[in-house]
Point group: C2
């Protein structure tokens, strides 16, 4: 009797929001690009009103921003945004890891090991695209297995922003072997239940990324005083 599931379709704006999210993640809309309402509405074959509901969701999520009567644009990530993204990911993923350590850490480690293997083989055959996909999948799975819906929702947005950072800065995993090794170490520490090591590895992973993407800036450096969300990496 419990295999019976809800039948009702989800809301249209939710579906459109998800598609737009994927498109932004995959770079089909570059940072700074305007989300023209008329064109998008035609593409989805819905009215502008319905489309605007979906866009407002992404605004709330922080993926879009804009000014009144000028339109909505894909957010451009400044250097402090990059740091902010990884600071927040660090918070989310450390919390997820701790939940897993208090739960089924062996089972989760096994699942993560599967993704890790795929990442390693992608590294071996030099498939950058597959490496990136496995990277995202690894972290998404880590948070998903924490069981926390709120952490998952936040991680979803943060991983999109991560991809935006990497793409915008043309970062191509110059040392993919090292990247894979970090993930492998994390799987091992998780399986062994070594909390301090797990948290340290995640912290180091995020710090590495920040230093690679924004030279001269580390994960734990103080963020600018407050206010600056200038809207551009170049401005």
């Amino acid at each position: 009797m419990s295999q019976l599931t809800r039948v009702g379709r989800e809301s249209t704006s939710s579906i459109i929001a998800r598609q737009l999210r994927a498109a932004i993640r995959d770079g089909e809309f570059e940072p700074g690009a305007q989300m023209g309402e008329a064109e998008l509405a035609a593409r989805f074959d819905v009215s502008r009103g319905t489309l605007r509901e979906a866009l407002q969701r992404l605004v709330e999520e922080g993926l879009l921003s804009g000014e009144r009567h000028r339109g909505l644009f894909v957010r451009e990530l400044s250097a402090s945004d990059v740091q902010d993204v990884y600071v927040t990911r660090n918070a989310i993923e450390q919390a997820a890891a701790r939940l897993i350590l208090h739960g089924d850490r062996i089972g989760v480690a096994d699942e993560l090991a599967g993704v890790y293997d795929r990442m390693r083989s992608a590294v071996r055959r030099g498939d950058q695209r597959a490496v990136g996909a496995a990277d995202v999948e690894f972290h998404e799975l880590l948070v998903a297995r924490s069981g926390s819906h709120r952490l998952m929702r936040m991680a979803r947005t943060l991983l999109i922003e991560t991809r935006m950072c990497i793409r915008a800065l043309q970062d191509a995993y110059e040392l993919p072997e090292e990247l894979a090794a970090e993930h492998g170490a994390l799987v091992g520490a998780l399986r062994n239940g070594n909390e301090a090591l797990v948290l340290g590895l995640i912290d180091a992973h995020m710090d590495d990324a920040v230093r690679r993407l924004t030279p001269g800036r580390g994960l734990h450096d103080p963020l600018p005083p407050l206010d600056p969300e200038p809207r551009a990496v170049g401005s």
Copy 2:
């Protein structure tokens, strides 16, 4: 030249979303209450279309949920939701504290001490309402001073959900002295730069809250397998 600020008004749906958020936080809409579009639109003196854009923002935020053709309702928080809220707050506020420890920890400690003083005097005169307000203000300030926009945005929603938990479960800070003491200890540890103590105090603070609100459940207990967001604390 830098004191010149943007002039353009923010979007209407953003304004309405903020007001609705405050209303939900203050219990003007109880959990489970339906957000009737016609009535709300009339109350704000806007069309239903504009109002729906604001509602969709709150759905994305997780404060509202609903089913197609049935309407949107204020989320009811289950026991695992309560735990989830505090798990996530723990992640956010620990990260904020660590940022502050690497930044202007003295200045922030001074500011927090001000809120702490107000909380203590509210406790002395038995003003439950003021205690709750100071509590929220304390944690909001902590995250704000981290300088991370993303942590702030997440904390905003989480503090609303915190108030919803407390209100729904009629928790009235039975031991307000202890509550104030915990905040005082946090201010001290922050000022001294004792990271391990700061993180431990935040962790204990959240764990206390979970145990008080959901008997028999702790902050670090494993969350249910995944799926259950049943929508009700009572169902």
